[in-house]
Symmetry: C2
Subunit: 153 residues, 2 copies
DNA sequence: GAAAAACAGGATAGATTAGTCTTGTTTCCA
DNA sequence: TGGAAACAAGACTAATCTATCCTGTTTTTC
């Protein structure tokens, strides 16, 4: 239901939040989060354009969060890479409906609203502080592994 | 967040539920739901393979629901065309996590769970009986209009 | 049994997503 | 100032999704 890009972006920012306010290189993030390095670079560029992260070139540079983990929500990240677009008007543009949603689209929109709300209520800090099970969201890892490998293999 | 295919499939079965237990031709459904006819045909084939609808060739034939609108949920339809796959194990396969989800994936899975639950609780009959706003989910229409037209146009 | 209605299925094409690779540019530091 | 570290950006490929078209097959009806 969520794109690979969303999954990757969330892993990256969670990792950055865990290190905040220090910067990490794209290669470091890629290894820790097991995301293909070159693809992650593109995603991080997108996050930079949206003001979620900032980058610093050169030796000792890297990527870091613009805001603190307390100020940044999962929804901010999701909307930066693959926005949750609510159903505002009838997709069939039926004149008799106007801006009212039919019962079907009302339910679909309501479902998206619950996701939106859940994501808006989760700050990165809160995710990191979650006391359940493994306390650290993403820990060690071996090498980057594309999600696609799951499918036809 | 939901694919075009899911949207189209839901429109089609809602339309069929509204006509139930009568059959409608693919062309009739396509026009009523404003879904591209040939693409809808493929989606309906998929729904037939999953046992959601049944088809009848020849004059007077068409597509109809296998179950009654009371027995069929939105989730049944969604899962037939584009399944909501819950996160069962850590996508990073971290050995230290085992089958436990990290806080991030727990939240993502929880979001999907709410959608799953909402869709499981909505039968087609219930959607049709919704007293709010326009009572009929999908009514008249002009001609099929691909969702894609919204984007670059 | 022929014609028409209707679905079945394959081929194809365009758009988007996912992923890789190469080159360029900025920045730090010795 | 030169080299290495690191991001920036574009080209390119593969897979998937969306969509269209064409031919075949089944079924009903006259």
């Amino acid at each position: 239901m969520f794109s690979d890009t969303v999954e990757y972006a969330l892993r990256a920012v969670i990792h950055l939040a865990h290190q905040a306010p220090a910067a990490r290189t794209t290669a470091q993030i890629a290894e820790a989060t097991q995301v293909p390095k070159d693809y992650l670079a593109k995603i991080l560029q997108g996050l930079a354009k949206k003001g979620i992260v900032q980058t610093q070139r050169g030796v000792g540079g890297g990527v870091s969060l613009v805001k603190t983990p307390e100020e940044l929500t999962i929804l901010d990240v999701v909307n930066a890479v693959d926005p949750i677009t609510r159903i505002a008007t009838c997709p069939l543009k039926l004149p008799t409906h106007g801006t009212n949603l039919c019962p079907l689209h009302k339910r679909m929109d309501a479902a998206m609203a619950t996701v939106e709300a859940a994501f808006r209520d989760s700050t990165l800090a809160e995710v990191l502080a979650d006391p359940s099970t493994a306390s650290v969201p993403l820990c060690d890892g071996t090498d980057p592994q594309p999600l696609k490998l799951r499918r036809k293999a």
